[in-house]
Every structure is written in C-alpha cells, then in structure tokens.
C-alpha cells in the first residue's frame, strides 16, 4: 500500500516535469518569457548561461513564493498584495544570489551572473509563482513545477539559439532580417511543439 502510494507520487512528479517541459512549455505554449527567449538566443554559448540562470531563479522563485504565500499572505490575509510581494521577494533573492556568486565563483559568475538581473522580474519567473498559487500546489510540487518549467525554457532556448546561429548567417531577405525571421522560427517551433499536446493529461 505504501509502496503503491510511493510509485504514485513518483509518477505524479514525472508527469509534472514532462508536462512543464514539453506539453505546457512556458515559451512555446504559454508564450511567457519571450523577451529573454529572443534577447539572449543569438549564441549557443550565452544561451547556456541564460538557461542555467533561469533554472536557478525559477526553481528558487517558485519555492520562495510558496513560502511567502503560505506563511505571510494567507495568515495575514493579504492575498491582494500577492504580485507586489512576489516581485519583492524574487528581486531581493536574485540580487543576493548574484552578489554571492560574484564573490565566491568568478567562473560561475561569468557564465550566468550577467543574466541574473535580466530575469529577476521576468514574466516567466513571476508567472511560475502565480501559476503555482493558482494550482494550489504543495511545496514539493511547486518546486518541481518551477524546475520543470525552467527546464522547458532552457530546452527551447538552446534549440532556438542553435537555429539562430544558422539563420544569422543565412541570406535572409532584408525585410525579414533580425527579429522578424526569429519570430517566424519561434512560431514554427511552436507549431512543432503542438505535437506534444495531449501527451500528458494534467
């Protein structure tokens, strides 16, 4: 009985991850976080740094916001201040982490330090916090959801950066140069990701 419950939990976790990464991909299905998706995808190298930073921040943001929600907003009945609280707590957290990394590991800072301030109050990050509250997740599932969404973002960002490196060197007609062709590419990627719809019914 307990074993069954355990495997059930495990498969639930796996489904949450799969759903967040592929089926309900933040960028291509929910259209959140488009700004960094377009802004930091011109090189695979920087996309890797950005992906790591997003993984870091989104996991952290979803857990921190869950804590704030549970221990401050609900007890004090301040639900209407949700957005402000979340922004504050995420921004502070990210700033703090950035300084910590800068001091402790120059290599890691080189890789993701410069991207951290870029995404502190990005809609994807705030979105994951708000969606968590909406879905009434537990601490574990909200952390997992944050991580999974970030993983989905990272996957798509890396694929997109690879494509853009190729497109940037192609003789794209003048009218479509730059973000136009990037957006068309993102659109076609989004169409391809439609194939995952229905894969996980959550």
């Amino acid at each position: 009985m307990r074993y069954a419950a355990y495997t059930c939990r495990m498969s639930e976790f796996a489904l949450i991850l799969l759903s967040a990464v592929l089926v309900n991909n933040f960028v291509l299905t929910k259209f959140l976080g488009i700004c960094p998706f377009l802004g930091v995808s011109s090189k695979v190298e920087t996309a890797v740094g950005m992906s790591l930073a997003v993984l870091f921040v989104m996991t952290l943001a979803s857990t921190a916001s869950w804590l704030v929600q549970e221990f401050i907003l609900i007890p004090f009945d301040l639900m209407y201040l949700q957005t402000i609280f979340f922004i504050l707590i995420i921004a502070v957290l990210v700033q703090f982490i950035e300084m910590l990394i800068h001091k402790s590991s120059p290599v890691l800072y080189q890789a993701l330090g410069i991207f951290l301030p870029l995404i502190t109050t990005n809609c994807a990050v705030l979105g994951v916090a708000l969606l968590n509250v909406q879905k009434e997740q537990t601490f574990m599932t909200s952390a997992l959801y944050g991580f999974g969404s970030a993983l989905g973002f990272a996957l798509v960002l890396l694929l997109f950066a690879g494509l853009r490196e190729r497109i940037d060197k192609a003789p794209v007609p003048d009218a479509f140069k730059g973000s136009a062709v990037s957006l068309i590419t993102a659109g076609l990627m989004s169409l391809a990701f439609m194939g995952f719809s229905g894969l996980v019914k959550v």
């Binding site: 401050i72 004090f76 009945d77 301040l78 201040l81 402000i84 609280f85 504050l88 707590i89 502070v92 700033q95 703090f96 300084m99 910590l100 800068h102 001091k103």
Partner: protein
C-alpha cells in the same frame, strides 16, 4: 486596520531585505574587471591617433568609459571594431574610413636635413638617425601611422605602399576574385608587387 497590517508587513519585509542586501554588497564587494586592457589587446597598436585619442591605451580607456565609439580605430578596421563591440556588448557600427593598403614611411635621404623632428614624433621609435644626419625608417618597425609626415620641415617623408613578397601572399576569398588582368601572361620580368592579390 487591514491597510496598516499590509503596510507594516510589506514595509517590514522590504526593510529586512534592504538591510540584507546592503550588508551583502559590502561583504561580497568585488573589483571591476580590467576592460581597458582587454580592449587595448585587440587594437593594432599603431599609436596613430586617427581615433582622436593620443594612442591606443587612451582610446581603449575612452571606449571602456563609454566616451568613444567602437568604430573609431581606422587601422584596426572592421575586425577591431567587431572585437571591441563584442567586448563591450554593444551593436557593431559601420567603419567609416577604410584603412586601405598597408603603408610605410619613407625618408628621401638626399633631402633630409637631420632635424630629428620626425624621430620625436614617431610613437614606436621606428626612425633612427642623429642630429644633422640622414634619418632612416626601420621598415620592420614602422606602423604606417603618418605622424612623422607633418612635423618634417622640408617635406621629405613619403608614405609608400608596402611591397608584397611571395612569402606574405595569401589566398583571397573566392568570389572576391582579384584579376591578374594587368599582368602580361608571358612577360619574363616580374616586379615584386605585380600580380598581387
């Protein structure tokens, strides 16, 4: 009452956060990275001053400080501009002046009066000669900066094209095919610079 509660909580949280950040910024303070040296490293070091700054290090300093544009280095051309833009993380800009073919300073020795003014002007000590004697440019050291041309009181310094030798010849890109039209196919004599690519 509710309003008060909200203000207190939010304010309290913000206060705590700001204190934490303030302390953290002191504790984790790090010196800025040496951008000037990195920019200087991609400059051609001609010290020519064509960027409007007296030498390469001053220009690098100006770029790092945000005073100068990334496209002011003439001898560095497009490549230096792209490298600087990449370092600074800004968009590349068009290079207005073309560096053209590499040039060398050449002193017409029979006209030289030995005033040493060009020697003083040369930023890389590429001109030798004592007062009242002919001066000569060391070809291997000359960067082609033209700074010596102006000070010469008798205008005996010319900028001449650097001659190309076979050992320095490299393939040009396909498409940008330089024709050898001028070269007569069956001529015996070959000047060093003829048929250059």
């Amino acid at each position: 009452m509710n309003i008060l509660m909200a203000i207190l909580t939010l304010g309290g949280l913000a206060l705590i956060a700001s204190i934490v950040l303030a302390i953290a910024s002191r504790v984790f303070h790090v010196e800025g990275d040496p951008m000037i040296e990195r920019i200087d490293a991609v400059l051609p070091q001609t010290q020519c001053g064509q960027c409007g700054y007296p030498g390469c290090v001053p220009y690098a300093t100006a770029v790092a400080g945000g005073e100068a544009d990334v496209n002011q280095c003439v001898p560095g051309g497009e490549r230096a501009m792209l490298a600087i833009a990449d370092l600074m993380g800004v968009a590349p800009k068009e290079v207005e002046e073309d560096a053209g073919v590499p040039m060398l300073a050449f002193v017409r020795e029979d006209e030289c009066i030995g005033c040493t003014l060009c020697i003083k002007a040369c930023p890389v000590d590429a001109i030798i000669g004592a007062p009242k004697q002919y001066h000569t440019v060391i070809e291997d050291h000359c960067t082609g900066c033209t700074l010596c041309v102006e000070p010469c009181p008798v205008d005996c310094i010319d900028m001449v094209e650097k001659t190309q030798v076979l050992e320095e010849w490299t393939w040009s890109a396909p498409g940008k095919r330089p024709a050898l039209e001028n070269a007569n196919q069956n001529s015996d004599e070959v000047k060093h610079a003829s048929g250059t690519a």
